[in-house]
Amino acid sequence: MSRRLPDAAVGPLLVVPAVLLLGGVVAWPLASALWLSLHSLYTPTLEGPWVGLGNYAAVAGDGAFWHALARTLVWTAGSLSLQLLLGVGFALLLHREMRMRGLARGLVLFPYFVSTVVAVLVWRWLLNDLYGLVNQLLLASGLRDTPVDFLGVMPNAMLSAVAIGAWKFFPFVTIAVLARLQTIPDQLYDAARLDGAGAWDRFRDVTLPELGQVLGIVVLLRAIWDFKEFDLVFLLTGGGPVDSTRTLPLLVYQQAFGLNQMGLAAAHAVAMMLVMLVFAGLWSLAMRVRA
């Protein structure tokens, strides 16, 4: 005789796989990080005593965290602003009727597709002081008498990182904005033209408001991704000169694997997550208020 589950139990049961999945990929790593951050752990063995909130006190009291946070904000704000500028610009360009538009739309995605390691190696080579194309051009054109040190001194190192980061990631903005541009009704532009709006007026009063929502999401996503960007900055400058480009992810990496202090690194990582949550919350709130 078959037994039938009560209807009230079916719903929760169906949710169980999703809960388990989320628990496995989100809650468990998060709980692990929190647990690690409450210990003083030697990375290779993951052994060490319980220190409670000691690591968090060390994070708060250590200037390195705050300096790294400031550098992370500079990197994120700089790179994100340029990405938006380039991304929206290219999207507007690629939205226009032109020859070989399909090819251009494909090519603009290239920086986003290329592996970060490859991109950084290429850029390091281009910017090399002894053999790099950029310096050779600067010297040949007479603009400079000596090569420029793009990655080894400030502010060049941060500016180069920001510029290369923007080059690498702006296609994401382009894709998102271009998709939205294609759904803006032509009638809005026609109406604006009838009202005597010029190109800039149409962009400001029609295009930008229509893009508002998608830009909001793009800014949120890219800000999160840029905030925790590791490989590009690490491979490009290694955090130097001194610690001028040592952003929070690089600091966490150094704590965890350079100094073998996994507990402290986990505390840094949790603090970094909290900062991100605060920013994401404020941004979402601002978007909601604006809406």
Binding site: T45, D129, L151, G152, G240, P241
Partner: protein
């Protein structure tokens, strides 16, 4: 719309047949895996992984596998900057390689002090202790009297390399011996787009390791023999002062130089002097042969009245604890020194890794290599310098082995101090003071 008939269904494979087929295929695959699984796999890591060296390792592996059909060895390259992180992750996850070669002695001491390495005394016995030069393995001796690693080679990492043609053009008859002479030589040779020296100023291990040598050549030390921090002393300031004065003779991009960039700057002809080990010989022979006959090798100059100090990283062979197949791994470790495979591997970067085994160093096969033969004085000088060499894990005869040296280097504290003074014009007293505090904290962590 035609409907599928029951008859059609029956002519296709039945569900039972499909399940049976899958099960059969799975069983066959599993049995196949089983036969492959009986072959033990050893993982070998090394940060010395230039294409020629890797080819040498593969030949050694092929010889070993042919002699031991039940064992497979897989080589996995790492890097000087990357191995601390990779090994830390490997230890933490329990996925350690079976054998790691070419790590500096201080890394081995550090890992052993934490109980992460197997003692290697029986490997040395299998290789033959008498084949080693006297004291060649002393640097791996630990507090418990055992060996945490064995010497795979010696490297005189910070030799001064010069070019006869540039020296002659600048009127320099012999390599400089003091810092003042070096500065004068660099000034005289720096012209026509050729810089004086490729000293590193990057935020990396090379800057730290190289600068330790300058502190010693000024008569100082980073740690006292009891391993208290000894950095904040006059010789450190003298070394910083000299290092800063050399900036004008280095390429602008030296602010990011690591080992590869510094080496390439000299071998490509972009700098008149070099600071590196014997890899210069092979790279020049292969990449810029017109310089081959021009090379001059000397110990790096010291402060006036100072004593020479050569950085030897004492490239080692070590076995992480917890890896499977320990007996086979030790057999493979000892087999690495079989002359038939070992000598060609050494000669894949001639003069860079110098043999700590006397019969090998004196063997005709080793000495008749064209690059070695053409540069015998340089090779002999490097061998002598390396034999008397030191590193941060073993700063002098009086020093205890420093098990935190690896972390000191990985922390970039010393490189940061150099960068602060040279690139940011921070007062040396402030920079050294900060570095000393950081080092003290690291040692007590």
């Amino acid at each position: 719309m035609p409907q599928r008939s029951a008859r059609t269904d029956r002519t296709g494979p039945t569900r039972r047949a499909v399940i049976g087929g899958i099960a059969g295929t799975g069983a066959a695959l599993l049995s196949g895996c089983g036969s492959a699984g009986t072959r033990k796999t050893l993982r070998w890591w090394s940060p010395q992984a230039s294409p020629d060296q890797v080819a040498g390792y593969r030949r050694q592996i092929a010889r070993f596998e042919a002699a031991h059909p039940g064992i497979r060895v897989r080589f996995e390259p790492t890097s000087d900057e990357g191995y601390p992180a990779q090994l830390a992750a490997a230890f933490a996850s329990g996925q350690v390689p079976n054998i790691v070669t070419h790590l500096p002695s201080f890394a081995a001491q550090g890992y052993y002090a934490r109980g992460l390495l197997e003692p290697m005394d029986d490997v040395v016995r299998a290789i033959g202790p008498d084949r080693y030069y006297p004291h060649a393995n002393d640097v791996y001796r630990t507090a418990d009297g055992k060996l945490c690693a064995v010497a795979f080679g010696n490297t005189a990492v910070d030799m001064l390399w010069m070019r006869r043609d540039l020296m002659a053009r600048a009127g320099i008859s012999e390599p400089p011996r003091t810092w003042d002479q070096l500065r004068a030589a660099c000034r005289a040779m720096q012209r026509d787009g050729t810089y004086g020296a490729p000293l590193p100023f990057g935020s990396n291990s090379m800057t730290s390791l190289i600068f330790v040598g300058f502190v010693h050549r000024a008569g100082g030390q980073v740690f006292a023999p009891d391993l208290s921090v000894g950095l904040d002393a006059e010789p450190t300031y003298a070394a910083l002062d000299f290092y800063r004065s050399m900036r004008e003779f280095c390429p602008p991009g030296a602010t990011g130089f690591g080992w590869a960039e510094s080496l390439n700057a000299f071998t490509s002809g972009a700098t008149a002097t070099g600071i590196y080990g014997g890899r210069v010989l092979g790279n020049v022979a292969r990449q810029n042969p017109k310089l081959s006959g021009q090379l001059v090798c000397a110990t790096y100059p010291t402060r006036a009245g100072g004593a020479a100090w050569t950085f030897n990283d004492f490239p080692s062979v070590l076995i992480p604890r917890g890896a499977p197949h320990l007996a086979e791994t030790k057999m493979f470790a000892a087999g690495l020194f079989d002359p038939a495979g070992y000598v060609p591997t050494l000669l894949s970067a001639p003069g860079h890794i110098l043999p700590p085994l006397k019969p090998i160093a004196e063997s005709k096969t080793f000495l008749s290599d064209p690059v070695i033969a053409a540069n015998r004085p340089a090779v002999e000088l490097m061998a002598t310098s390396a034999a008397n060499g030191r590193n941060l894990g073993f700063e002098s005869e009086k020093h205890r082995p420093n098990p935190r040296a690896g972390e000191v280097i990985a922390s970039n504290v010393l490189a940061r101090m150099v960068q602060q003074v040279v690139l940011e014009n921070v007062n040396p007293r402030t920079a050294v003071g900060e570095a000393a505090v950081h080092l003290d904290r690291l040692m007590k962590a």
